[in-house]
Structures are given as structure tokens and as C-alpha cells.
Symmetry: C2
DNA sequence: ATTTTATATCGTATTATTGCAATATAGATA
DNA sequence: TATCTATATTGCAATAATACGATATAAAAT
């Protein structure tokens, strides 16, 4: 077998650059309404525990826990142990990184010439 | 049946705001290395046809066509008919929109207070 | 020590995504 | 008209994502 199967159906990640794969998986971590909602709630209250989000969103505790894990694995949020709870907050570096990436794309686009 | 099943496994989109759902599906359209590569190639050459991308990337023509369709449906690229080919280019509005969204999140994050 | 509170993990049913061969469609060319 | 070129669509096998009940783990409170 020649391919490595990593993410999303059958994906030939080895054919793309590391930067392209990294950006894709970072965006994938955000590409779900529940995770956007979780992110926005954490930004709004600055920091909170998993159970706060369970009370905020109409999803079961294991589901929220799973989404938090994905956000954490992608480096979008950080989790600090606080007693028997875990306090989550945004990793502002990643958000800034994303902002810069899209700014970079925006700058590269030649706005003068129309499509085709 | 109380739920509507729309995207990615079982997803309860009706429980989230329209903005959250829209951002999630926009990011989902970009959340694949092949689509990032396609986007970068289109930006690089300003405009190109499907077959150019087939020659550029190690994916079959139907696969490229499918990815182009997803990018087009998300409003990230535009396609203009040119003879028997279709010329694709970036929709700079969407890229700018994404840049502004992440800039907005970045501004909202309270950088002074540390996590927890 | 027992119960409560908070979170993570496992197992699994359901649905979505990916990639491509085969085929269809349509304009251009000979 | 027949062929070439470019793209889209269909069908399908393989894989990934989602959601949650049941359960495990661990610290706090009683």
C-alpha cells in the first residue's frame, strides 16, 4: 500500500507541503459550528471550564469534551488544571497566526485584473 | 425526528447561529490540503482552468473538479466560461472577509489577563 | 469513607468526505 | 460530421467525523 491515510476520508497528505497540511488541519479544527460557538464563548468570558460550556450549548458532556480536545490538539485553546476542573482559554498566538495567513493571501491577490 | 442532518457526521446546525454555521462551512471548504493547494495555485497564476490544476497536482481530474465545485459553492472562487473551458479565479471578497473575521477575534481577546 | 462534581474515554450507530473509474456533456477543431 | 479537448456527473469503496450512553478517573465536599 502506497498511501498514508490520515484525515478526512482518503486524503493524500504526502503530496502536499507541510504548510498546506498544517493550515488545512488548523482550519478543520475550526470548521464546525459547535467549535466556533465554544471558541466564541471562551473569548467572551475570557476563561471557563468544560461544564460551563455544557450548560451553554445543547450538546452532551462527552461531545463538548471531544470538541475541546480537538481545539486543544490544534493549539487553538489551552487547558490549565484548577482543582478538579480544567480551565480553558484561547491561545492568542494561533488566532493571530490565522489572521496573518489570510492577510497574506489577501495581499497576494492581484485586485486590478478582473477574473479571466 | 427532531434533528436536521446537514454536514459532517451528525451535526445539530439548528442549535447554532447563522453566522456560526456560515463561518464553519466556509472554513470547511478550505479545510483540505488539496483545496489549499488549488487556492494557492489560482492566486499564483491569477486565473487558470481546471486542466492546469490537474497537471499541477497529483490528483485525478474528477477529484480536482469536485474540489473546485466545493470552493465555488463556498464562494471562494468564481468560474467564467471561456470557450469549452472554465476559467477559475479567486473571489477576493471572501478572502478579505475571512481576514477580517480573524482580526475581529484577535481584537476581542483580552491579552492582558493570562489563562486562568 | 462516601458522595458529589468535573472531565475524559470507550464503544458504536449514523452520516459525511475523499478519490477515482466510467461515463456524460459540450464546445472547438479538423 | 467525426474527433479532440475540457469539464462535470454518477456510482461506489474506503475512511473520517459526529454525537452520545455508559463508564472510568480524580479531586472536592460532606
Amino acid at each position: 500500500m502506497q498511501y498514508r491515510y490520515i484525515t478526512m476520508g482518503i486524503s493524500k497528505t504526502e503530496h502536499f507541503t507541510e504548510k498546506q497540511n498544517e493550515l488545512a488541519s488548523l482550519l478543520k479544527a475550526l470548521a464546525h459550528p459547535a467549535r466556533i460557538a465554544i471558541l466564541e464563548h471562551i473569548i467572551k468570558v475570557n476563561a471557563c471550564i468544560c461544564n460551563d460550556i455544557v450548560n451553554e450549548l445543547p450538546l452532551a458532556q462527552p461531545t463538548i469534551s471531544q470538541h475541546l480536545k480537538e481545539l486543544k490538539n490544534a493549539g487553538i485553546i489551552k487547558g490549565n488544571i484548577e482543582g478538579n476542573a480544567i480551565c480553558y482559554c484561547i491561545d492568542e498566538k494561533i488566532i493571530g497566526k490565522l489572521q496573518k495567513i489570510f492577510l497574506g493571501y489577501e495581499m497576494k491577490i492581484e485586485k486590478k485584473r478582473a477574473c479571466c
